[in-house]
Symmetry: C2
Subunit: 494 residues, 2 copies
Amino acid sequence: MANARPDQRLNKKIYESRVPALREQLVQLQVRLKEAPCKVLLIFAGEEAGGRGEVINTLSGWLDPRGFETVAFRQPSDEERERPLMWRFWRCLPANGRLGIFAGSWYTELLRAQATDTPKSSEVARHYERIRHFEKLLSDNGTLIIKVWLHLSKTDQRIRLAELAANPDTAWRVTDAARRQHRLHDRLSRSATRLRQATDRPGAPWTVIDAADPRQRNLEVANLIIKKLAAHLTRIEATPPTPPRAVPPKSLKPAGLARLLALPLDQKLSSVEYEAKREKWLGRLHLATRAAQAAKRSIVFVFEGWDAAGKGGAIRRLTSAIDAQDYRVIPVAKPTDEEKAHHYLWRFWRHVPRAGLVSIYDRSWYGRVLVERLEGFCTEPEWRRAFGEIDDFEKQLTDHGTIVVKFWMQISREEQLRRFREREETTYKRHKINAEDWRNRRKWAAYEIAVGDMLALTDTPAAPWHLIPANNKRHARLQILKTAAKAIEEALGL
Amino acid sequence: MANARPDQRLNKKIYESRVPALREQLVQLQVRLKEAPCKVLLIFAGEEAGGRGEVINTLSGWLDPRGFETVAFRQPSDEERERPLMWRFWRCLPANGRLGIFAGSWYTELLRAQATDTPKSSEVARHYERIRHFEKLLSDNGTLIIKVWLHLSKTDQRIRLAELAANPDTAWRVTDAARRQHRLHDRLSRSATRLRQATDRPGAPWTVIDAADPRQRNLEVANLIIKKLAAHLTRIEATPPTPPRAVPPKSLKPAGLARLLALPLDQKLSSVEYEAKREKWLGRLHLATRAAQAAKRSIVFVFEGWDAAGKGGAIRRLTSAIDAQDYRVIPVAKPTDEEKAHHYLWRFWRHVPRAGLVSIYDRSWYGRVLVERLEGFCTEPEWRRAFGEIDDFEKQLTDHGTIVVKFWMQISREEQLRRFREREETTYKRHKINAEDWRNRRKWAAYEIAVGDMLALTDTPAAPWHLIPANNKRHARLQILKTAAKAIEEALGL
């Protein structure tokens, strides 16, 4: 585009005459957004002096402040550094019905690195991949992602910097770093182009807006938001909500079901033998978790299994080897309304442990491909996507150094019946059983198929499934202690 | 109490025969707790080697892990250090229906300080005061606080340390620090006694349990919890929930109402004059917030006022002076279900800004003494207590260095009517007005009384109320910019 010297710019009067209509449209769209089951991310990046801050301040003045939040990212805090890279972005996502303006984002660090040194291309590629996954996950979930690149040619940048420097109110913005970026304009522009190409995807496309004329730029940004948001809301509003409908599942990958059914369930273990071995493995597990803590490696345990398979009891035995201050049991029940206003993985990201600590998920994100799949609480595309999203989530954990240990506790249908009856007869266990448990039990075969698919599709080298035969409680508990200790020892190279 | 040498201790068989009944009672109480509108804090402290970790691990094995969480406090993270001291405890409070086991607590730092050096007695006294306030606030809100001191006499401590050292599995626990604490036993015991005396209050009493015999100790802890929790639940269950009932208020302190009514509302300000002065004060405010940020001082703005008083517009003008990355507008609407499961201040503590950042509350904790008082959403004792709790909350902010600036935007009843009608006639403002606004308007006189009490009872030197006449929007906005700039400048000594 042509350089926009001050005398070629949009006239202030014309600009001001156009603003009220844009504001009205923006606020009207915010009203519609408030009721919609989706959120909007507005991500700004661009050349130095492109006016990211000005655009955001202008938009903030136009939008209803109740419906948006501006998010910035400075140096990661220690709580953030102790978690996988994307944790800090997950925690800042707006809830459904809201708009998040990202002054900084998952692009900021990358752009900063490109401006100050030359990051390894393999690292850059990995970062692109991470971003594409994240944005796809959000966009698949209905999030509208608007990415705006505020572009300044080298000449326009020179003009803008000179203008800023000439005004005593803004001169402070023309820092040495800004001048350096101006000198490097061409190289930075080229890497920015590559970055945009690598991360321009359906559902998360970049829009480049020429930022040479600040007023024109503001109008273009507002028009872009209006156009995209209106189209998005119209599409969402036209989609009728799908009422939950239980669907009899078909196996996606029968190998998992076969593995499940082949598991021998009726091991014997005398209580004497159990107690002797338990002490040994509790000790090993204790030492392993202490070693993990010393190495600042955190641990995530996932407990899944049939109702009454003995998850609670197994967790209690496991935790008895860990200092109570170092672990946290996360019981996963129905999501809260804050959790429902987010992607289903959000509530698990929330509880990702800090360095050296242990999170034990009593049920987990696998609910998406088990109960939610079977009861129709999510759509088929949603639970189908979940397999990949979960793999990616767990990979982020393990890439960060977190040790992920997943258990499926398997009992026979007859054993479950025996335990249900026992629970009903034991006063202090009666609260553990309700009508829903009996209802789920009737769908045993359907659940088996879903469990099989889960085992087949989310069994990764970094986060494999451990199948635990659990008809014999002692045997199951011992095997869990043993598996946990060995998994941690192996991860630590002990 | 008598020393409990190993041969004098409770027999293992007897111990094990008593456990099942205790477990059953504990789990039954957890079932009742789950439905109760209250939470339980179980706080452990005590002499070195008293077995805090063992007790917590034992309890963890007995309780249903879905209903409790163990909380520990290590070195504060940077996110924690940048907020008032108690922020880290607020964020770890369990939700209603749950039990929080505090392995560390607001006592930990104090006890550690007493063990390693001699903290100033004025500081200790202030810390005691802070703790008493916090525990009173929680207990007033229905929280059951059980504080257990696991006591070991010097002789018993020697015996326990020798036992730990003799066992290869536990020898690591006998650290130099532990030996040092043993040498200092008498002095530490004396300061611990003072600490317990200073913080033993109705609603938050200490119970000292002799920890010389570990089995006996475990039983006593469990029995204590059972006794206290049963009594607490019985009391709570016997209290029928109070349905909301709007109550015509009587003024508690008429001076506030008089101040409100004496405010002249109809200032004039030409748009030319406004624009000239606005630029000046926006500049001052901009520089002031930047100076605050450089000094790592955070700022909390509170906007309260009648419906249609112009809070949104004033906030937009205010924020135009601040970099969008540095502020966050917190719109306060109905609490979410997670927020409802906590003390009403919890949801405001959540958003206390990090060092150098700005939180703008669009409505605030004052809802407790305004809408909640008038509509009967809380009981009279609750809103009466709120005045003091709010003062205390704001004092914690200002003591920490946070600059608190509170605005009440005052308009006349006639002006409100004019604005309501205008809103109904303007398309893009129509969403701002609903039946509830008209309902509240009918209670104008009642709200005036509540506002008056609020102004009179929460106007503190560190966090004074700024009354803003707001019939004239320009005048109001300008005065807010001016007041904000001056308040920050003054706090910074500029």
